[in-house]
């Protein structure tokens, strides 16, 4: 949920100049098999964060919803969509309560990224980029946001060296047509001009599925993805 809201707002913002009508691809991401069970995160080492959470925070490696919905899946158009420019508006990545919000953050190549620290403790942001330039910076409380942008499309694992449990993903894409599933597993890619598209769904750490969809006119096509999960 958290994740998808800003993204949709952002889509509207960026596509306003473009054609307001067009096709929509929507659907649901589900899983089969047994998902690994979420483990409670032990924040005892960082009391200032631990006391912000009434109930222990759970790991976000696999987040599922009712009737096998799978959250935190990035669904995007990997081929066929116009490779629009990066939106002017920045995406923000917030550190609060020793957690990353959102856990999965999608953005366009060259789009500005703001990293905020809303905690009373220093954080460290270490995107383990391989294609792009890897960096590793600490952010004491009350310091200005760290600004950066990624030039190449890549899925980048993000960690905090000071708090090992803090873990997130930057999904850097060449398109603005993407959506991140919430706990209901639903996604929607609106405002698509007619054409043939390849749609990719990515789930951490390295699950990828693609489907071909053809949009003709103002229709809404439904596409579903299903990932096989293992307990370990």
């Amino acid at each position: 949920m958290r994740a998808s809201k800003p993204c949709i707002a952002l889509l509207m913002a960026t596509l306003c100049p473009a054609l307001m009508f067009g096709g929509t691809i929507s659907g649901k991401v589900t899983y089969t098999g047994t998902p690994a069970k979420q483990k409670a995160i032990d924040m005892s080492k960082e009391p200032s964060c631990a006391k912000q959470h009434a109930t222990p925070v759970m790991t976000e490696g696999v987040v599922t919803g009712p009737n096998n919905a799978l959250a935190n899946v990035v669904v995007y158009i990997s081929a066929g969509a116009d490779d629009a420019n990066a939106p002017a508006q920045a995406v923000t990545f917030t550190q609060k309560g020793c957690q990353y919000g959102p856990h999965v953050l999608a953005m366009h190549t060259g789009q500005e990224l703001d990293v905020l620290n809303e905690d009373q403790t220093s954080h460290n942001i270490h995107p383990l980029a391989k294609v792009n330039r890897e960096w590793n910076k600490s952010q004491p409380p009350g310091t200005p946001p760290i600004k950066d942008k990624w030039d190449q499309p890549e899925v980048i694992e993000v960690k905090c060296n000071i708090h090992p449990w803090m873990h997130g993903w930057f999904v850097v894409l060449k398109t603005n047509h993407y959506s991140i599933t919430g706990e209901n597993g639903g996604f929607s890619l609106p405002n698509l001009p007619p054409g043939k598209y390849t749609i990719t769904a990515w789930h951490e750490p390295d699950g990828k599925q693609t489907q071909e969809v053809t949009i003709s006119g103002n229709e809404t096509k439904s596409v579903d993805f299903s990932f096989v999960l293992k307990p370990y």
Binding site: S122, H126, L128, S138, P140, K159
Partner: protein, 591 residues
Amino acid sequence: MSEASAHAAHHTAPTGFIRKYVFSLDHKIIGLQYYALGLVAVVTGMVLSWIMRIHLVWPNSPIPLVQWLSKVGAPGGVVTPEYYLSLMTMHGTLMVFFVLTNAPFAAFGNYFLPIQIGAEDMAFPRFNMMSFWTTFVAFCILISAFFVGDGPPLAGWTAYAPLSAVGKDSGPGEGLGQTLWGLSIFVFCIASLLGSLNFIATTLDLRTKGMTLARMPICTWAWFITSCISLLAFAVLLPACLLLVLDRVGGTSFFIPSGLNVSDHLQPHQGGSPLLWQHLFWFFGHPEVYIAIVPAMGIVSHILINNMRKPLLSHKVIVYCMMAIGFLSYMVWGHHMFLSGMNPFSALVFSFPTLMITIPATIMTLIWLGSLYGSNLRINAASLFCLGFISMFVAGGVSGFFLAQPTIDIYLHATYFVVGHFHMVMGVAAIFGVFAGTYFWFPKMTGRMMNETLGRWHFWLSFIGTYAIFMPFHYLGLAGNVRRYSAFTDDFLVPLVPVHKFITYAALFTGAAQLIFLFNLIYSRFKGPAATANPWECTSLEWSTPSSPPPFDNFGGVHPVVYHDPYQYGVKSSTGDYLMQTSPERAGETP
């Protein structure tokens, strides 16, 4: 091997500015160059320590001007944890290598060792010039680490592997910064080896007529012993740095074991031994402590004798003690590693000689104290700093007694107790020796006197200040305050912050007091009253040169002949209560 041409070259003094002051073969100029380099390094190191102290007690508040030092390291002036460690590493490296090794040993040694033995220059003037400029290159390489990508290294001046060896994965500054560090120290080792070689050959071969080993002043002995220590110590650090740099850039695995997962990067290395680095480093590292303190001991003895107007109770014992310390310093390196996983039995083996070192140290202290008794002690800036040195040496020495015992080390290891200990005994004490030397020899080096009143104020403030800074470190250690923390977030450390605040104020105050010294140095250099030939009525050869500063070949073409042991004080002679080493009179005879 270059002395033939060198001497050919320096029969006549060079005239051009470059040959005279920049690439000079003259040991006096080179000595001053070392002194200047040390001064730059110590000011830099001190400023870094200020930033650290301020950050420690106000971790989240911006420090003025610091954001200009590094935008990433101190966003908006707030020092990040990694940048704190970078500052700490640079502070340690600058102070240990470029101040404590350069100032008391290379600077004063270069200037006065040849004069005190009546030589016209070092044995190998070319090597001498090379060793300074090599040191300078090392300094530049180290400083350049401030300006590279992710800043200076953060592995501390001890650069423990694998933190220092696995490369950028282990944190900011561990990329190019750490490599530059390794390179800088590698180059520094070469410089020090050249220097030591020069000192040893000069002392053994260039002594003038009648200057027997027994007639060398104590500081000459100190520099000679130090050069022997540093010859062997740096000869070990050199290959160690080579291996470290190879691990970093050559992909070897000397210090890096198998199966390391450093921030989600599985390291390709295998089979290396982190303890190997610690052994090699500390085999150098402990003697290094004595490379810093022994010259200070020599300088202080020399100046103290002159101001007491009587020789020490025993000249020989002091020299033997310095030798003993130098010798023992090679058998104790393991006391830095009691808890690092070496065989627990070896801890006891290393502990014993460590405790034994207190014996020569105590003997020296007792001799200094005992010699004060019944003396006509002159009180001036130089002698005050000598007395301060003794006080500091005692204070830092007794705390060594705790750390020498593995049992107590279990509790005190890596706490501020250690920081207090080595800052007092090796840092401040050695620096006091340098101050004493400066006030004492300034007339000879520049031909002008330093301002006495400012000198005394400098001493009073520094003396009180250093105790105010470093004594509380011991208390913090006893409370279990861990060192090398960039902020105190632990429940048991937070209550101690007021003590840290006090230390920070003291540090700022003491640092500011050093401005008096800098001002005095510069002011007296140009405006100070002209110095007489031998203002302190001192006996050793440096005061029998025809002019201050001495001419190019030190003694104006003639070679002094030495007739006496170095410290003929409290005698009746034509000159008063002392007899120059070069005076043919016999002590006691009235001419």
